[in-house]
Symmetry: C2
Subunit: 554 residues, 2 copies
């Protein structure tokens, strides 16, 4: 059996190694356009930032090591230019001399990845404008930075790669501006959670321009100008274009393979394309979203690695299926961790799910043990069933842990009550006896079982403002202590500290006016709502509390 693999990194290299472990006799060839295989895409920004200093660390294997260990024939700087499915050959161009040859296959695996999206504006050919996908791209940026000692950088695009580049260039001392088309950075976050990230970037001296459309780039004497539809253009020494990636599916399309969403390669559960001898994996394929069940593009290394192994298994006669991706991801942004899994509230609603979310700010470990920090957690659930649909956590240590736990719970189809029952490891330096994940389950359960109603800040502020002056409209009620209120509250809010509430019920507006109750985190106001409800008041808990308002809406 002869297997040819196009693309020698996450999906391709993993498939090749697994194929060899399964079959000593197979002939295995990897065709790779760049000069490197098995490279650490995800480490590239850190090489530019000087966090990783050894070039050798960027590649996990070389053609030689692949040969020595696995007898895999790796051909770098060769590009697959077409597939002849009838003849079962790939034609390959040697980039060093331009010569082309044909390679026969019994099975073909496509793992060509994705390419940076080209926004189609003028000036993208500037020498000072970079994209980042390969080792060569990395060295290009790195060498530019070393040589030119740039002072300022414009980053176009606020997804993973844009932000990792922003952090790394900022750590090297550059003035960094991130330009984002939409209303917030990181599409894996809802707007409110992203606001925390925006503040963090600003705290670290990065300028964040939202709702800004780039109309083109132009050369300056010693720099590059990024023009925007509105406002002054941005001048910098270099610019990075990171406005997303698109499936690298030209080869597949030209070979007549069936394509799906945004041109991604369509595969079945066995990762077979519409041609039974051709498999495809990684960023180039359309997958099933594990939560919505709908087609999705999820360009992440974990799924690519898993898919590579699954394709190899199926080629070797082991029946293995890929059941879908849920997009679990994590980003380090200075000392902040931004971790997500499954759907945002917005994505859940867009997918037609009756979804809601809770917001909580638990400590990452027992507060009496030194060094605890609070996490901001948003957990999205389905209203009728309590099924967990997604989660977003922004915070310090332990954020990634809770996301992985919830990712596992989502995988298992768990609901809110299941979260409350999770038996997680507790000791003061690591967690709380009620782990943040259990706590999220409690919050959701209380809503589902009708013990408390909740309202988001934007709705609460709107309701309270609209009805301002009206005798019957909703009233904001601040249940924090006088000290806390003195440090800031919402204008016009009534104030009765929780611990005095039972005695001061007669001070509250009667006649059925709805109370929108808040405290710092949502906990005391929840307790207040329980008291109020049982005393016949109509009330709702403002989700996330004043702390969340301060972190997100300011």
């Amino acid at each position: 059996m002869k297997v040819v693999i196009i693309g020698g990194v996450a999906g391709g290299a993993t498939a090749a190694a697994r194929l060899r472990r399964l079959n000593e006799a197979a002939e295995i060839v990897i065709i790779e356009r760049t000069g490197y295989v098995s490279y650490a895409n995800c480490g590239l920004p850190y090489y530019i930032g000087g966090v990783i200093t050894d070039r050798a660390k960027l590649t996990l294997q070389t053609p030689e090591s692949f040969w020595n260990r696995f007898r895999i024939d790796v051909r770098v700087r060769q590009e697959a230019v077409s597939i002849d499915r009838d003849a079962r050959t790939v034609s390959i161009r040697r980039l060093d001399d331009g010569s082309v040859y044909a390679e026969r296959y019994d099975k073909l695996i496509l793992s060509p990845g994705a390419r940076p999206v080209d926004p189609g504006v003028p000036g993208t050919d500037s020498e000072r404008l970079f994209t980042l996908r390969t080792v060569e791209d990395t060295f290009r940026i790195h060498d530019f930075v070393e040589r030119e000692h740039p002072q300022a950088a414009t980053i176009v695009g606020g997804g993973f790669i844009g932000l990792e580049m922003a952090e790394n260039l900022r750590e090297r001392g550059l003035d960094v501006t991130v330009v984002q088309r939409g209303s917030h950075l990181m599409p894996t976050l809802d707007q409110d959670m992203a606001a925390i990230l925006h503040n963090h970037l600003r705290k670290h001296g990065i300028r964040v321009l939202l709702d800004a459309n780039v109309t083109g780039f132009s050369a300056l004497d010693e720099g590059i100008r990024t023009a925007l539809t509105e406002g002054a253009p941005l001048d910098a020494d270099l610019a990075i274009m990171a406005v997303g990636v698109a499936p690298e599916s030209t080869l597949a399309r030209e070979a007549g393979l069936e394509l799906g969403l945004r041109g991604a390669i369509k595969v079945d559960e066995h990762l077979r394309t519409s041609d039974p001898d051709i498999y495809a994996v990684g960023d180039a394929i359309e997958v099933k979203h594990a939560v919505t069940g709908k087609p999705a593009l999820i360009a992440l290394a974990g799924p690519a690695n898993k898919q590579g192994r699954i394709a190899a298994d199926n080629i070797c006669g082991i029946d293995r299926t890929f059941k879908g991706s849920q997009g679990s991801s994590v980003l380090k942004m200075f000392d902040l961790t931004v971790a997500t899994t499954g759907l945002t509230l917005r994505a859940a609603q867009a997918a037609g799910l009756a979804a809601d979310a809770v917001v909580l700010t638990p400590a990452n470990h027992a507060t009496y043990y030194p060094g605890s920090e609070s996490l901001v957690m948003k957990v999205v659930f389905e209203q009728n069933t309590g099924r967990i649909l997604g989660a977003q956590i922004v915070g310090g240590a332990g954020s990634d842990k809770r996301i992985d736990v919830i990712a596992t719970a989502i995988r298992a189809g768990m609901d809110a009550t299941d979260l409350t029952e999770l038996d997680l490891a507790y000791a003061p330096p690591y967690a709380s006896a009620k782990d943040p994940v259990n706590m999220a389950g409690y919050l959701i359960e209380n809503i589902l079982e009708g013990r408390v109603e909740q309202v988001g800040w934007s709705e609460a502020l709107e309701l309270a403002a609209c009805e301002h002056g009206s005798e019957a409209g909703p009233v904001l009620l601040d249940t924090r202590t006088a000290d806390e209120v003195a440090r800031g509250s919402v204008e016009g809010a009534l104030h009765v500290p929780l611990d005095e509430l039972r005695e001061r019920l007669d001070e509250l507006p009667s006649s059925g006016r709805r109370l929108l109750v808040f405290c710092q985190s949502g906990l005391r106001s929840y307790v207040a709502c329980r008291i109020l409800t049982q005393h016949g008041f109509s009330c709702a808990n403002v989700s996330g509390g004043y702390g969340f308002l301060e972190q997100t809406l300011r």
Copy 2:
């Protein structure tokens, strides 16, 4: 409705708070023997160690704050001495004046916890011998340490509390000896994994005496002597007795409630005792082990908190069940994390399960990103089904994360293939594209699907030694590089580096001799086994590799 709760800490205080949130009208009374409620049992060792310095931080609520917030009537320094189930009263002794009174209840919740096991040897009344369970115990030890400036401590018992005390006293500069009856510390670990912990304690200057039986304590002029069945007695300035806890069930027994394992209070899924008006929660009850389904005692704060809430719910007419504990736990020991969930291999086998385990030593995050450390992971599975039964991880940062993920997977009844499919969040500072948990799934899957056989080190060494000299017996094969071998290997092992294996197959003993193949971690030897198997050799992979041997058996 009037609810009386005996014991005002993890289970009891949580039940009380939840009761109030559910029912403003209930009368809620907490009876607590010590002078404190809602105290942080789990933080107590750290107060002694000086890590927590503020006494106030040891209690999360006071009787006053409980009253102010929850209108809960907390009576400290009062002991429930008997229950009259017919009259539905509890008789209570005021410890300050010895007076006794009766308190009526509609529903009673028992959350009396556990008490330190008394080993029944002479001399336990010594003033220099301490146990640790309450705030008072803590101050007693703390004051002793502050006053007497002890130089040396003997810790009897190597479970959680013994080890946390060992760490904290060591951090204060004492010479610490831990005496353990069994062959290893921490019953939540298998022997091999515990060995890593032993080495770590020794590295931090703690003496570990295993298989040592304490026969009694006696006073020295200025100290305490701990006598052992064998060997010299241990002299120290103080001794801590921490040989486990026993359910505090005297009250329940005397009231005629049904008891179970080791005298623990029997409850149904709703946490109701054999008396429908009496609920019991926490360390005092017998639970169902979530993995074996058998009765178990699991004295941990997470389950106690969960159970307290469940009991309150049932009392208030919300149908809620406790489905069992799986004993997830974590311990910080200097810079090492020891985390476990579910069953050890030993416990699984003792429970009659056809269990096996894999050992792996993955990095906690991408090795090319600075600061990665390896975790030692042992994952226990059921042989016929691949169901995950338990896991133990000893290592640095990220150990607790993987245990919580596996704990969640166990809760969901996942098998090895499910682990391989978990969609976990990956970026270089946090994980690897194949997360350690996925990797554990791969290892198990390869065994279950017959792609590789494995053998443990003790069996491998025994087999190779027994058959030493015999022409047909098994042979150890070291597949590491010459450099690695030069730093140490197993005597008598053949040596062929993996990358030379294919060319040097003819150097291997033929005639069907079984090859017991190892490398540093098990990865290269697995690849070697795949090559050897396909070339007709009989072989097995030595689980965990030479690294595990070095860490565990030396």
